[in-house]
């Protein structure tokens, strides 16, 4: 496979994952704002989307409809849902020959339909429908991917993009809220502020799953453990990392060559398999997440170099 094609696949699926994540962040922010109109949820949503500075430059004050528009459809915001989907499709065109007709058409249709919905500002009344549409199309693409693509290097690079982006996103969500999870003296084991934990779990579509697994006992450690170490949580760090590792292992097998990225992914995967949430809290959650985000970013660069994405 061409290095350029591998890169195109990787970024196509990173962008698709990012668009879905941004849509989910908007959904969460909107939901919280409905129930707690006096809160300041939008600031942390912008931070999580790494868009706080660019938003302030453009709009100044935080204002719900402006934030939603900025995150959803602003062409000046590189991680707006519109831009992510347009970039995903641009990459899909670039790697058209590596995709099945089903996957290409799913991405193309996603772009055509979502850009139609985002052609004008979305009224709050229509927001749930538009966000639902984005999620549906994202499912359409991943369904087409799973149902029609050969399990070869093409598939591996697509999955690497998805899970690297996902791990990055979930770590960011946790990091923006880490102060909420930080147990102060006497707080360990006590209940958290409802809104805050709800935000975190909603942002990763994990509210119900968490409630099931923990019988409704919401604790800082419980949530951190769920998102970092629980192997069953598909948007969690451990799950994402184990997928990254196995997809890289698949490439190592089929290409019979080993690179830096293999060492890095194995180290991170082991760390998440054996780590304990208590230790993380002891050493500092923020420090842990900062280091993890750096590791993920380095792993991304290693994959790009090891598989010759660029000339």
């Amino acid at each position: 496979m061409l290095g350029k094609t591998a890169g195109g696949l990787f970024w196509m699926f990173r962008y698709l994952e990012r668009s879905e994540n941004t849509a989910r962040l908007i959904e969460t922010g909107f939901r919280i704002a409905l129930t707690r109109p006096d809160g300041d949820e939008w600031t942390s949503v912008l931070q999580t989307a790494s868009a706080a500075d660019s938003y302030r430059e453009r709009h100044g004050e935080i204002e719900q409809s402006a934030v939603i528009d900025f995150l959803l459809r602003d062409k000046e915001n590189p991680s707006s849902v519109y831009n992510c989907i347009a970039n995903a499709r641009q990459n899909a065109r670039l790697v058209r020959t590596a995709l099945t007709r089903e996957v290409w058409e799913a991405v193309n249709e996603t772009y055509l339909e979502v850009s139609k919905s985002l052609a004008r500002p979305v009224a709050e009344r229509n927001l749930p429908e538009v966000l639902g549409q984005i999620r549906q199309y994202s499912a359409l693409v991943s369904g087409a991917l799973h149902g029609s693509m050969l399990r070869n290097d093409v598939f591996d690079f697509a999955r690497l993009g998805t899970f690297l982006e996902r791990a990055d996103n979930t770590a960011r969500i946790l990091d923006v809220k880490y102060y909420v999870l930080l147990p102060s003296v006497g707080q360990v084991g006590s209940s958290l502020d409802n809104v805050q934990w709800e935000t975190i779990l909603r942002s990763v579509s994990g509210k119900r799953a968490y409630a099931w697994l923990h019988q409704g006992k919401v604790t800082p450690m419980g949530i951190a453990d769920f998102l970092i170490f629980d192997p069953r949580m598909p948007r969690g760090l451990r799950f994402s990392m184990s997928k990254i590792r196995s997809n890289l292992a698949m490439l190592e097998n089929s290409y019979t060559d080993r690179h830096h990225c293999h060492d890095t992914s194995e180290r991170l995967d082991r760390m998440l398999q054996t780590g304990k949430v208590e230790e993380v809290f002891e050493d500092g959650l923020h420090e842990f997440l900062t280091e993890f985000l750096n590791d993920i970013s380095r792993l991304g660069h290693e994959i790009e170099t090891d598989y010759r994405f660029h000339g």
């Binding site: 496979m1 094609t5 065109r93 193309n108 290409y255 000339g311």
Partner: protein, 476 residues
């Protein structure tokens, strides 16, 4: 189905009832409901858009991806008509190759005085770097698109030979796919020769032209200028359907005397490159130094037998509009036979007497730039305003050698589906011929382009043209 007495209508031919090739289709059509067909027509557009069969229009940044309108009424050619056309096309393709080989070697046609030396020597399309170069398998034009127009029952003319990088073949294939999806029952009533073999034929044909220093893998790749090129969809389509890599210049480099592509496992040799990049941009070291689309040094590798470039560099000298007027001579010179397909009479404005005639009859003629393409820089006299005529008059007087003129041809019509039902529109036809040491292979049919505006003679997609599925009927 109204006919126009001035023009040959391929459906009714001016007689009573449909011409034979359209008989079965007409029977089917008469049993259909117009509203349903119009709905199908809209479905087709959705289908094309979803598939992403779009082309980019230069200079229009916004709406930069457009669909070429597709008309659901097929253009139908009988087996007998097709046999005659293919003989003419094959003859022409062989003559063009022989001409190219001669022009870049002994130049016997110039010595024999059949083509003026000046026309070659002072022609920008002539590539001196190709002199003495032997292309792998002796093939210059692996792919040729011959533009044909029809003016009567037995009158076909060649309008243009496209010997550089003819495009449109993906539309030929997708148009058929669309028709098969929309009207499966129609294909059980009318026996149409399939076109879907084209990518496999192209792959075989390119594979039969391995360079002297081929790698063991016989690797073929399609070279595209990139996703912003107007025909990018087609480049991806062909690579995909041949099962070969689609590369850009930045994916390639010279390594150990071979062109190699950067893969996830390192650099791997390429043996044949089907390039959709113009000569000028192919190699910044040998041609246009500012090109970012090509591969530095690819031409040196080519000369040393490390790679096959399809089509070969320098083929433009064969489809130049000034050379066009000599094609009947060229065919006769190399094949010893009279040209089967007719040439449109052409006035070369470089010639004083011709220029005088052209200026006198400007409102009757079509004037074309010698190096133009895509219907740009062209004057259709009978349709032009006084102002346009005057602008062209000045252009002709300033640089007569830049222009040729031809009579306005009475292009045949084929009906399209409009709101009011069937209505005749002018068409042309671009069949695609593949040439390799295995021989000439021509896919039955080709791309029919249709001028969608009533009365218009300009079929180019950039100027309001659309396309149709082209049927060649099975024998009997």
């Amino acid at each position: 189905m109204s006919g126009n007495t001035e023009f040959f209508d391929e459906l009714d031919g001016g007689g009573d009832g449909p011409r034979a090739p359209y008989a079965a289709y007409t029977r089917w059509f008469e049993g259909e409901n117009l509203k349903d067909l119009q709905r199908k027509s809209i479905e087709a557009e959705t289908f094309f858009r979803r598939t992403g069969i779009t082309f980019n229009v230069y200079g229009q940044a916004e709406a930069d991806e457009r669909l070429i309108p597709f008309d659901i009424v097929p253009r139908i050619i009988s087996a007998r008509e097709w046999t005659r056309l293919t003989k003419g096309i094959e003859q022409r393709v062989r003559a063009i190759n022989a001409f190219l080989h001669d022009i870049y070697h002994r130049q016997e046609i110039l010595r024999a005085g059949r083509v003026p030396v000046d026309l070659i020597a002072r022609n920008e399309a002539f590539l001196p770097q190709m002199i003495g170069v032997e292309p792998p398998g002796g093939i210059y034009t692996h792919i040729t698109g011959i533009d044909l127009v029809r003016t009567g029952e037995n009158d076909f003319y060649v309008l243009e030979d496209n010997a550089r990088t003819p495009s449109g073949v993906s539309y030929m294939l997708e148009n058929r796919e669309t028709m098969l999806q929309m009207f499966p029952e129609l294909f059980s009533k009318v026996k149409v020769r399939p076109v879907s073999d084209y990518p496999a034929m192209l792959r075989r044909s390119l594979g039969a032209c391995m360079p002297v220093n081929a790698s063991g893998d016989e690797t073929v790749a399609v070279l595209t200028p990139g996703i912003h090129n107007s025909a990018y969809f087609e480049h991806a389509f062909l690579a995909d359907n041949m099962g070969v890599e689609l590369v850009e210049g930045t994916d390639l480099r010279v390594q150990n005397g071979k062109i190699c592509m950067r893969t996830t496992r390192g650099y791997r040799p390429v043996d044949v490159v089907y390039r959709r990049v113009d000569d000028d941009f192919l190699d910044p070291l040998n041609f246009n130094p500012d090109s970012l689309l090509g591969v530095p040094g690819i031409f040196d590798v080519y000369r040393a037998g490390g790679i096959t470039i399809a089509n070969a560099p320098g083929t433009g000298i064969a489809d130049d509009k000034a050379i066009y007027s000599y094609m009947p001579d060229i065919v006769e010179f190399y094949t010893g036979e009279k040209a089967i397909l007719k040439n449109v009479p052409t006035w070369r404005c470089s010639d004083k007497e011709s220029l005088a005639y052209v200026l006198d009859h400007l409102d009757e003629l079509v004037v074309k730039e010698v190096h133009g393409s895509g219907g740009y820089g062209m004057l259709v006299g009978p349709a032009a305003s006084k102002k346009d005529l005057n602008i062209f008059r000045k252009k002709l007087e300033a640089k007569p050698g830049n222009y040729i003129a031809q009579p306005t041809l009475a292009l045949s019509t084929v009906p399209i589906l409009t709101k009011a039902g069937l209505a005749p529109r002018h068409v042309d036809l671009r069949p695609f011929a593949l040439f390799s040491p295995r021989g000439v292979e021509i896919t039955p049919g080709g791309l029919t382009r249709v001028a969608l505006k009533a009365g218009s003679l300009v079929v180019n997609s950039s100027q309001g043209g659309g396309t149709k599925d082209t049927w060649v009927l099975e024998d009997g």
